[in-house]
């Protein structure tokens, strides 16, 4: 009962938005790369690098915005490296991405150690945080529950706006159309004069920018420090959201929100008397369950259509 009260509260909704942001952003990035035919498995690593860079640069410059900018730049650079390895040097896309993920995991904590002498996090440093709505409009705080819901980080708002922007880009611009054509049939794209490699560079770079925004949010919005492996698999859950969202921007947004809700639930239940180990598996279990249900439903639908047809014929 307690649990239900938690779920149907405004505070819970606010929490869902908070924890979904670092899923929505990389998932949108992953979507672009997937549609361009160069699925970016390095989302996780890019997020980590961006999160770490953002914190350190914000400490150094005393500016959250400069930190965020540096984080995004660094994340994008990692995506460029991946693109270069795959598209120029013909390295296997998946292997190169796995290498980058491992490198990001070890590399970020190595840099943090060099700077702070601490091998687990930057919590001893005072780092910047991206502004919340209340930093622009102080009045929202006075609105009580609704105010708490609206008082989200700029990057949370950005995630929703970017969903629309990505949809517009993919389906209403020439470049977006070329990108999708390249992903689906590169030979056909090439035969009408589209530069396949350039499109795939673009797809990977854009996925890098979006994943990096997700990383920056984690360390400079959600919390105010960088911690070892703080992405905790979000880059991979984002990948699952792409397919669960049927490879469409709106679908991906919804899928990311569903995973976000599962995570928010696990956080809330953590405050109640439920074993933490059980609670912690909720987001991962939800991911798995969602994918299984999706596949089963698809199958059932096809079978039902066939059965309905045969029956209607038997009736005639």
């Amino acid at each position: 009962m307690e649990a239900l009260n938690v779920i149907f509260s405004v505070a819970f909704l606010a929490a869902v938005l908070r924890v979904s942001t670092p899923l929505i952003l990389p998932a949108l990035g992953g979507l672009i790369s997937e549609l361009g035919g160069v699925i970016n498995i390095a989302l996780e690593g890019i997020m980590l690098v961006a999160a770490c860079t953002g914190v350190l640069v914000s400490v150094w410059t005393q500016s959250a915005w400069l930190g965020a900018l540096a984080g995004v730049a660094m994340g994008t650079f990692v995506a460029l490296v991946l693109a270069f390895f795959h598209l120029n040097l013909k390295a296997d896309l998946i292997l190169a991405a796995i290498a980058l993920n491992l490198l990001a995991s070890g590399g970020t904590i190595f840099v943090v150690y060099l700077v702070t002498g601490d091998k687990s996090s930057t919590s001893r440093l005072v780092s910047g945080q991206m502004p919340f709505l209340s930093d622009f409009i102080p009045g929202v705080r006075a609105l009580g529950e609704i105010g708490r819901l609206l008082d989200q980080n700029v990057l949370t708002y950005a995630a929703f706006v970017l969903t629309a922007v990505v949809a517009l880009f993919l389906y209403r611009t020439r470049t977006g159309m070329h990108l999708r054509a390249v992903g689906e049939n590169p030979e056909a794209a090439r035969s009408v004069g589209i530069n396949v490699r350039r499109m795939q560079y673009l797809a990977l770079v854009l996925s890098g920018v979006l994943a990096a925004l997700g990383g920056v949010y984690l360390s400079m919005g959600y919390v105010k420090f960088f911690a070892r492996d703080m992405t905790g698999g979000r880059g991979f859950i984002a990948l699952a959201a792409i397919y669960l969202g049927a490879r469409k921007p709106l679908g991906v947004l919804i899928a990311a929100l569903v995973f976000g809700a599962a995570e928010a639930l696990s956080i809330q239940l953590g405050n109640l008397r439920v074993p933490t180990q059980l609670v912690q598996i909720i987001p991962y279990f939800a991911t798995l369950a969602a994918l299984v249900i999706y596949a089963v439903v698809q199958r059932q639908r096809a079978l039902a259509r066939q059965r309905a047809f045969v029956q209607s014929r038997a009736a005639r």
Binding site: R172, R174, M177, R180, A188, S191, G193, I194
Partner: protein, 526 residues
């Protein structure tokens, strides 16, 4: 779109396109074109014929900027040009429809037509304009398409029209059609020819590649014949017969008639009982089909394509699940068995779309030739593959089937279109099956190879194999089959014994649904 036709022709040449002394050696050492000189007059329909691997596609890819010639010169409207990319070819007014289509399946027809040169409004895609453009071009040239349908949902004939519209939208004056009829039904071919004539009427020039000499005679003004990477001759179509063309292509006499031993029909091998199939989208494509194929007979399935033949074959082969009904092989129930179980039960299958479903294009010929039997001796012993046996098998089949390839190690994808087909044919015909399913077996292969395939099918029959032949080519069915079954709208509408008195017209009535046998008559003969 500015039409390059407005560019004046230089006066001193009668040709719109002239390729002089073109040679092409592929990086793997294959000499595909050997000092070829090929010239096309404006507003003519110029056929290009030759055996599989003769170098036709290569020559055209050079003209379209997809391959670079090793030597030689190209003139367009009398001016020397060098064409480095399809982009440059398009700018010169040259368009090409490839042997394998270059379309994006999930995009609509309008999107495919404008892809790469999309209309925009306020910097965003103008989809309405794309649809309007497609409608307008479609009406202007009599190439009927549904602009808003996704390409993956439309039949292959329409896909081809999309390819032609694509080239026209880009302002092509010279249209290269690489084996456009290989995938078309006779009806669709007829429509295509009407469209081609209309294109020429409106000032276009068409280069037409085909293996079907009857079509070449019907549609073209002049013919160029290639053999072994060389251009043998260019002649006026009216001045040659099909036989003469065949001799020029192959270098010997070709006979497409079939000698069969008298029918020795044995036990039923394949028994199909009330088979039904409903697609995932809920379309019913097989509505209670029942028939037998016996040892030692060829059962031909005739019908306008798209009346359930493809689904019938794929359900039997285990590639699609039957919705209801039974498939028995020598009494053993193989309904909805996996393709592998079906094969192990003794079924060989030459699929209709061999390039997609018949071969792994990036793997070698040798590997493709053993994919259905690699786990058995002599190819595997003690759990290990036997490279020598695999290699010998490849060499033997390459020789037997006259596959034009340097050796068994080259990837199937680097072969010419017709030779890719032969790899699949070689594998299936050498499987020593009880039941051989041959779907459109001579589609896209040259006449020399067709002759050979006919011999092989008949030999299998004479050795007691049950052969199920599905073909859109009526003359092929009539010359090979012992019994003929006609399919229309997912049902069997007639079954004939193939007697000399049976004519194409008679079968045609049943194919089009004008006539229909009674259920009892069908049941008695099927």
């Amino acid at each position: 779109m500015p039409s390059p036709l407005l560019v004046p022709m230089s006066q001193n040449t009668p040709y719109i396109v002239e390729m002089r002394d073109i040679s092409k050696v592929y990086p793997n050492g294959v000499r595909a074109n050997d000092h070829v000189t090929f010239a096309v007059r404006p507003r003519e329909i110029h056929a290009l014929v030759g055996e599989n691997g003769a170098g036709k596609s290569t020559l055209m890819k050079i003209l379209y900027g997809m391959e670079r010639p090793s030597s030689g010169q190209i003139f367009v409207r009398g001016k020397p040009v060098s064409i480095h990319s399809p982009h440059e070819a398009i700018a010169l007014g040259i368009g090409m429809v490839h042997q394998n289509f270059m379309l994006v399946p999930s995009f609509t027809i309008a999107e495919n037509v404008v892809l790469g040169a999309e209309p925009v409004r306020r910097r965003l895609l103008d989809y309405k304009a794309a649809v309007a453009i497609t409608r307008q071009l479609s009406a202007q040239y009599g190439l009927e398409v549904d602009p808003e349908a996704p390409v993956e949902a439309v039949p292959v004939g329409m896909r081809q029209r999309v390819e032609i519209l694509k080239a026209l939208y880009r302002g092509a004056d010279v249209l290269i059609l690489d084996e456009p009829t290989a995938v078309l039904t006779p009806q669709e071919t007829h429509e295509l020819f009407t469209a081609i004539r209309q294109l020429v009427q409106s000032g276009k020039t068409v280069i037409f590649i085909s293996h079907k000499l009857r079509e070449v005679k019907e549609i073209s003004d002049r013919v160029s014949v290639m053999r072994n990477a060389r251009l043998v001759d260019t002649v006026d179509t009216a001045a040659v017969t099909e036989e003469q063309l065949a001799r020029m292509m192959v270098g010997r006499e070709v006979f497409l008639h079939v000698d069969k031993a008298p029918l020795r029909r044995g036990e039923p091998v394949l028994q199909v009982r009330s088979l039904e199939y409903v697609t995932e989208a809920g379309v019913e494509t097989l509505k209670g089909v029942s028939f037998n194929v016996h040892e030692g007979e060829i059962l031909g399935v005739a019908g306008v394509e798209g009346n359930g033949q493809t689904e019938l074959v794929e359900v039997i082969a285990g590639l699609r699940p039957a919705t209801a009904g039974q498939v028995l092989l020598c009494g053993q129930d193989i309904t909805n068995a996996s393709p592998r179980q079906v094969r192990q039960a003794g079924v060989a299958h030459i699929p209709e779309d061999r390039l997609t479903n018949g071969a792994a294009l990036s793997m070698s010929i040798a590997e493709n030739l053993i994919v259905d039997r690699y786990e058995r001796p002599p190819f595997t012993r003690g759990g290990l593959l036997q490279p020598t046996a695999i290699k010998e098998n490849a060499e033997w089949l390459i020789e037997q089937f006259a596959i034009r390839a340097p050796d068994g190690d080259v990837p199937v994808g680097s072969l010419s279109g017709g030779n890719m087909q032969k790899v699949v044919l070689a594998r299936e015909l050498s499987a020593q099956p009880k039941l051989l399913i041959a779907a459109q077996p001579t589609r896209g292969v040259d006449i020399g190879a067709s002759e050979f395939i006919y011999e092989q099918l008949v030999r299998a029959r004479d050795n007691g194999v049950a052969v199920l032949l599905v073909s859109a080519d009526l003359s092929e069915v009539l010359s090979l089959a012992d019994r003929i079954l006609v399919m229309k709208d997912g049902q069997i509408t007639a079954v004939f014994d193939n007697t000399p008195s049976l004519t194409e017209e008679e079968i045609g009535y049943y194919m089009l649904g004008v006539k229909r046998m009674s259920a009892e008559a069908i049941a008695a003969r099927a």
